[in-house]
């Protein structure tokens, strides 16, 4: 589904990603862990198409398409979803309104008919249950005055509405208390299917108690320095990141 090959990227002339390769297949959950400043969010941003990042080398293929050549909106329409670490507030635009536009743009791309107001509302009601989000919240300005937990729940709600092929969760656990974490994780698990995949980017192992990964990768200093299964996450939880750094330096 997704093939990243020797991806190098920089921001403002500083090299952040120094050659990343990763293969994600349908039905898989990959966790990318790493200390602060290792390039985790940069990877998410580059995959979603954030323009401040310059791709210096390598390739990314998503379902046979050259992802790096696509505009952010086309990536979203093709089935990539980024759950933002810091969802932006947009005064005056309600979640309901903007999602209606988004859902229909995505449907148009996939050759599906546009949803009318009634159908859209029905879909919304169904998906609201995934993350137990209240309708009154969705009528308000997008993320404006939302708590941290509400913002993250709104991200997963949007994911449920857009039904992506590949979801990238960028530090979705940051700033969440344990109850919110459970609700968010439960939402992600509910949306998991044979034909979609998830990349979970996180600093802590905690989220992986709820979203169980098939593979765990450690990102350090712009490179994936270690890969393993969920046991690797537990080891990181126990031993921290220092041994990885040491191992990497001595290697």
């Amino acid at each position: 589904m997704l093939t990243i090959n020797n991806l190098k990227a920089s921001v403002e002339g500083m090299e952040i990603l120094k050659g990343i390769s990763l293969e994600v297949k349908p039905g898989e959950v990959h966790a990318i862990m790493g200390p602060n400043g290792s390039g985790k969010s940069t990877l998410a941003s580059v995959l979603a198409g954030r323009e401040e990042y310059d791709v210096e080398g390598g390739s990314v293929t998503f379902q046979g398409q050259d992802l790096l050549e696509m505009a952010p909106e086309d990536r979203a329409r093709a089935g990539i979803f980024l759950a933002f670490q810091y969802p932006v507030e947009i005064p005056g635009v309600s979640t309901t309104n903007f999602l209606k536009a988004a859902v229909n743009k995505v449907r148009e791309y996939r050759g599906l008919p546009e949803l009318d107001a009634v159908e859209f509302l029905k879909l919304m009601k169904e998906k609201m249950q995934v993350v137990d989000i209240d309708q009154s919240l969705l009528r308000r300005s997008l993320n404006e005055g939302f708590s941290g937990g509400e913002k993250k729940r709104n991200e997963i709600f949007q994911m449920a509405m857009l039904e992506p092929t590949l979801a990238i969760l960028d530090e979705t656990d940051s700033g969440l208390d344990i109850d919110a974490l459970r609700i968010v994780a439960n939402g992600v698990n509910t949306l998991k299917r044979e034909d979609n995949a998830t990349i979970v980017i996180t600093h802590y192992q905690r989220l992986l108690d709820y979203i169980v990964p098939d593979y765990v990768h450690v990102l350090y200093n712009g490179r994936l320095v270690k890969s393993g299964t969920k046991e690797l996450a537990l080891e990181l939880e126990e031993r921290g990141y220092d041994w990885i750094k040491e191992e990497h330096i001595s290697a």
């Binding site: 505009a71 979203a76 947009i90 635009v93 903007f98 995505v106």
Partner: protein, 430 residues
């Protein structure tokens, strides 16, 4: 209409002479004296150049010089030309002026007891006291040259159920147009009214509309006043709107500017009775090479009054926006609450905004604030929307509509609000 003037001063002199000739029996009346006096003042001061602080950002007089050299008078319009006029389709009375002249066949007046609507009653209205901002030379010029207008009075305890829409059509297909409409709205004690003014322009020649709207609200009266500028690309306009408010009166006024070559709105509000409230909002989207200038002044003369002001501008291409917001809190006007905000989005490097809040406070127990922001479109917001599958042009439009909505939602009249929103949509699409 005979001779022609080469400078704007000569043109105005000829206009005034023409007007005096048409006065027939009313020469020598009180109204005539008011006009003569006003014109003498205009002659003395001349039209404001950019050396005048109030017109620093407006090359209006220079443009008028260029546009009106050799002007002899407005063109005759055939009924067929006027018949083509498309009215905005608002609910309530429609009082239509074409090139400054009242047009009875296009107008439609809803009768209601307690609501008096008098057309072209200037000769009675003028001597009854002048409230408009006469310090402004254009307001003075209007006083001298005003030829058409409507006077609306809503009697005590009367709620005017139908909105009164004053529609100014400027049609320059047959030549240059110079118009000086002058209106007055009087809301008596405990009365309520909704007044909308729309300026619509078309044609390839230039025009100058120098309009005045004088309003007053007596004790506990409520006035909703909307001004919508759909001026054409060759239209220039100065509007002086004033409101005098008595005790516990409420004003809601919204000024929308969507077009014109140069449009200047002077809005002057005087809070003369305690516990009065003035809400003034504005939205301006000048056209590619146009200038939209809003000068507001709120004068807190007595204690316990509130004023809330929000003006927003979206300025692209080579357009210019100007905002100047004066708030005066007089000595003794304690417990005043005065809030002002001006927010602008610049869509291009070549777009310009000149913004200046100007608070003068002589009382010490007051709450006053002002804020002013100018920026580009928020990149993070744009990316967020795009990352959800919304293309860049649609995302921009969505964000700009949300930005403007804060002002548009202040229009309480549903039909007008929908119309103003629809025009915004068209403007953002182009």
């Amino acid at each position: 209409m005979s001779e022609q003037g080469s400078t704007i001063a000569e043109v105005l002199q000829l206009q005034f002479a023409d007007l005096e000739r048409q006065l027939n029996g009313s020469a020598g009346t009180a109204a005539h004296a008011v006009r003569k006096q006003a014109f003498a003042r205009v002659k003395e001061t001349g039209l404001p150049t950019r050396k005048n602080e109030e017109y620093k950002y407006l090359a209006l007089t220079r443009e008028l010089e260029k546009a009106f050299a050799g002007f002899v008078g407005n063109p005759e319009l055939a009924p067929a030309d006027i018949g083509k006029v498309e009215l905005p389709g608002l609910k309530g009375s429609e009082i239509v002026f074409v090139n400054g002249v009242y047009n009875e066949s296009l107008s439609n007046i809803c009768e209601q007891a307690g609501v008096s609507i008098r057309i072209n009653s200037l000769e009675q209205v003028l001597p009854a006291g002048v409230t408009a901002n006469v310090n402004d030379t254009f307001a003075g010029l209007n006083l001298a040259l005003a030829t058409g207008g409507v006077s609306i009075e809503v009697s005590q305890n009367t709620i005017a159920t139908e909105a009164v829409n004053i529609i100014h059509i400027t049609n320059t297909e047959k030549g240059r147009v110079f118009a000086s409409p002058r209106h007055r709205v009087t809301v008596a004690e405990n009365a309520q009214a909704v007044i909308t003014e729309v300026f619509i322009g078309s044609g390839q020649h230039c025009s100058f509309t120098n309009s005045v709207m004088e309003t007053s609200i007596a004790r506990k009266g409520i006035l909703h006043h909307y001004k919508v500028g759909l001026d054409g690309n060759h239209d220039m306009r100065v509007d002086n709107t004033t409101c005098r408010q008595q005790e516990k009166s409420v004003l809601h006024t919204v000024t929308i500017g969507y077009g014109g070559k140069i449009v200047r709105n002077n809005l002057t509000i005087r809070l003369e009775g305690e516990y009065a409230e003035a809400n003034l909002d504005g939205l301006y989207l000048p056209t590619a090479h146009g200038t939209l200038d809003n000068h507001t002044a709120v004068d807190h003369r007595v204690p316990h009054c509130n004023s809330n002001e929000l003006y927003k501008g979206i300025i692209g291409s080579n357009a210019t926006g100007v905002f100047n917001g004066k708030v005066f809190v007089r000595e003794g006007a304690q417990k005043t609450n005065a809030f002002q905000a001006n927010k602008n989005i610049l869509l291009a490097d070549t777009a310009t905004i000149n913004t200046k809040p100007q608070l003068e406070i002589w009382a010490d127990d007051v709450k006053c604030s002002h804020g002013c922001t100018t920026g580009q479109m928020d990149k993070e917001q744009l990316f967020y929307l795009r990352a959800r599958g919304i293309d860049e042009p649609s995302a921009r439009k969505l964000l700009l509509k949300a930005f403007a909505e804060d002002v548009i939602k202040k229009i309480a009249d549903d039909t007008l609000r929908a119309r103003v929103a629809a025009v915004l949509e068209e403007k953002l699409a182009s």
